[in-house]
Symmetry: C2
Subunit: 393 residues, 2 copies
Amino acid sequence: MSVNATVTVEVGLGDRAYDILIGSGLLLRAGTEISRRLPGTRAAVVTDDNVAAAHLETLKAGLEKGGIQPAVITLPAGEKTKSFAHLEEVVDGVLAARLERGDVVIALGGGVIGDLAGFAAGIVRRGMNFVQIPTSLLAQVDSSVGGKTGINSARGKNLVGVFHQPKLVLADTEVLDTLPIREFRAGYAELAKYGLIDRPGFFAWLEENWGKVFAGGPERAEAIAEACRAKADVVARDEFETGDRALLNLGHTFGHALEAATRYDSARLVHGEGVAIGMALACRFSSRLNLASPDDAARVETHLRAVGLPWRMADIPGELPDAEALLAFITQDKKVSRGALTFILTRGIGQAFIARDVPASEVLSFLRENHPGRQSRPGPQKSSPGQQKSRPG
Amino acid sequence: MSVNATVTVEVGLGDRAYDILIGSGLLLRAGTEISRRLPGTRAAVVTDDNVAAAHLETLKAGLEKGGIQPAVITLPAGEKTKSFAHLEEVVDGVLAARLERGDVVIALGGGVIGDLAGFAAGIVRRGMNFVQIPTSLLAQVDSSVGGKTGINSARGKNLVGVFHQPKLVLADTEVLDTLPIREFRAGYAELAKYGLIDRPGFFAWLEENWGKVFAGGPERAEAIAEACRAKADVVARDEFETGDRALLNLGHTFGHALEAATRYDSARLVHGEGVAIGMALACRFSSRLNLASPDDAARVETHLRAVGLPWRMADIPGELPDAEALLAFITQDKKVSRGALTFILTRGIGQAFIARDVPASEVLSFLRENHPGRQSRPGPQKSSPGQQKSRPG
Ligand SMILES: NC(=O)c1ccc[n+]([C@@H]2O[C@H](COP(=O)([O-])OP(=O)(O)OC[C@H]3O[C@@H](n4cnc5c(N)ncnc54)[C@H](O)[C@@H]3O)[C@@H](O)[C@H]2O)c1
Ligand SMILES: NC(=O)c1ccc[n+]([C@@H]2O[C@H](COP(=O)([O-])OP(=O)(O)OC[C@H]3O[C@@H](n4cnc5c(N)ncnc54)[C@H](O)[C@@H]3O)[C@@H](O)[C@H]2O)c1
Ligand SMILES: [Zn+2]
Ligand SMILES: [Zn+2]
């Protein structure tokens, strides 16, 4: 495969099917690819400050080649932008550009911009065309694929949104070169996740080739394409998340609790880092429940550490709430029926499954055992004396 | 048919199919009907001040019978409530009640509450269950059926929303007795619309029986049921409004322009009144274009006048902008390609069709001819001297 080859992954969703194109130089082909699929379309580009500075001019040049002169809506970068206020701003901007249902909203940015712009596209005139141009690794391998869009609420993250599939995804692997390395790593956690869910061969390939993925060779496009295939498979089986799609939450139950516990302070923890720690914990927890071998958990931890990702709670700078408080963050957003929780657990690398009956008490003891002990509520611990015993690392 | 019989109309939308129950005393049966379809569900009721004062206690008693104790979210009455700010308020209230995707949002109110609560139900957790309990005649025959939800934007009405079908519609014909007569009449305009679109027999039946529909006999439920059948038919053919469903906009192009021209001041014109005048104008315009007989236009005008509805622009209190300005309101929200507009026109009562090539110039002369002449921009008229000639009435 040459560096410039474009890989196409098809997301098979019947009359909502669409292509993901993966390769370098795609921003410059955007106009051609979009107008081929949506002839005569008009467009609004939604982006953030960082991405606009690095890539907006290139995209505009690319759109121009397809005869598209877009309206541009630029928002502040960061998770806080996924709010009702900014949703209203995007909706208003799209309407101000007098776009119709058949015109297109283009998201140029990471998952924040993709989720927000996709939601706006899903509700303006009850649904407009939408194209994703993901610019972060996380967005290329995860958020841009599958049609989940949304914003955050004071009551929790991603609680408000719609399913709205794009007409096309353009994952330009070159734009990732301007991504801060910490963000690249965070996206890599989600990439590795697909190996852990059901692609053990992919995980082994990543153990071998991750350096080339970071460096930007053809392996980068290949890894992204494999991740998109993995996600597209799950989405095609369960578009509206009534079953299997929950597997994609591997690492996310612990991860979300840690994000909440650090008050979504990205200086301490970004989402993908939370997922990295969460995946390591989910594997370790599975081994503690005698579902998986401790060797598999160790292999996961070793790989995350190798690429520079945090993999245990102790890697989070600053104090963490105690185990009880972490459990409360976990149960907050979940139905707890008769003391049991739903979790994504695993029988080994590439063998994740949905466990619907995990006792909250087991989670609590596990959290105690793995807690780094630097707690934000100092004073005598209510937890068992063995608490620090099996703390890894 | 006895007064208490319940009529069921099924909306045939495959796996999104649902029942509309029409009859008296349905508020008291709400708990039974909802928990039969959604066993074990929890609920939030969204309503407005007026409706809460008249009917909330009855509904709560009815829900109690099905073991449902709802959270209640009460909003100010009126079109202004269909805003981003109130959408956020409803979303937050539903989340505060810790409802899950399988729980239900219940709209108790007119079209404003139905549109807003349905939109909230469509986006909280990317789609929750939704039940409509329409309390205005307009909501019972129109807005509660078909799954269109939404809010207004500074750029125009109903420009933001989703398609989100309810699981059940309960149209309690008794609650209409507290509805102000002017609102009842406004809803009646939408009811008569179905006769004009494609049910000439229904229109003739209404000419005969409208008094009993207003009075509240079994004819009321029968008329509502027929309207729901008519709308359900159109919706089943074209759920996402890509074709035929546009027929439901009969009277709405002129009507919306008049609403905009009176700045949505409900003291001057409510939506159904705008539709009444709009339908009369659409028929008159069709006859002027030699598509329909002037007798049919006269018959429509006579019936609207008989029930006490406005039927011509002169019936709107206060000054109206001139014909050019009205045309600008019409073209504002529509694609005008090469000077031609899409309009719902008719070949006679019950024979409406979508006309895609109506010259804007024809619309303008028609508006001039039918303009009452009390214009908000006084001064010499640019329009033809024949302007007032064929002004009806
Ligand atoms: N919809 C889904 O299915 C789904 C799945 C996973 C995550 N998400 C959401 O995605 C979001 C996280 O996505 P993210 O990590 O991309 O966050 P992000 O969009 O905030 O991007 C991270 C940072 O990188 C910057 N950036 C992005 N691309 C860049 C580039 N090419 N060059 C320089 N800077 C660049 C951004 O400005 C931002 O500061 C979260 O809100 C999460 O909830 C959604
Ligand atoms: N979704 C759709 O397909 C669709 C179709 C048509 C209209 N609509 C929307 O519906 C709205 C108009 O609906 P509406 O006319 O019902 O307006 P509305 O909801 O404002 O109700 C009209 C008035 O009647 C009051 N009211 C309602 N029921 C009552 C009762 N039983 N007793 C006493 N007072 C009562 C309300 O408080 C309000 O003051 C508009 O926003 C329009 O855009 C939507
Ligand atoms: Zn994630
Ligand atoms: Zn209407």
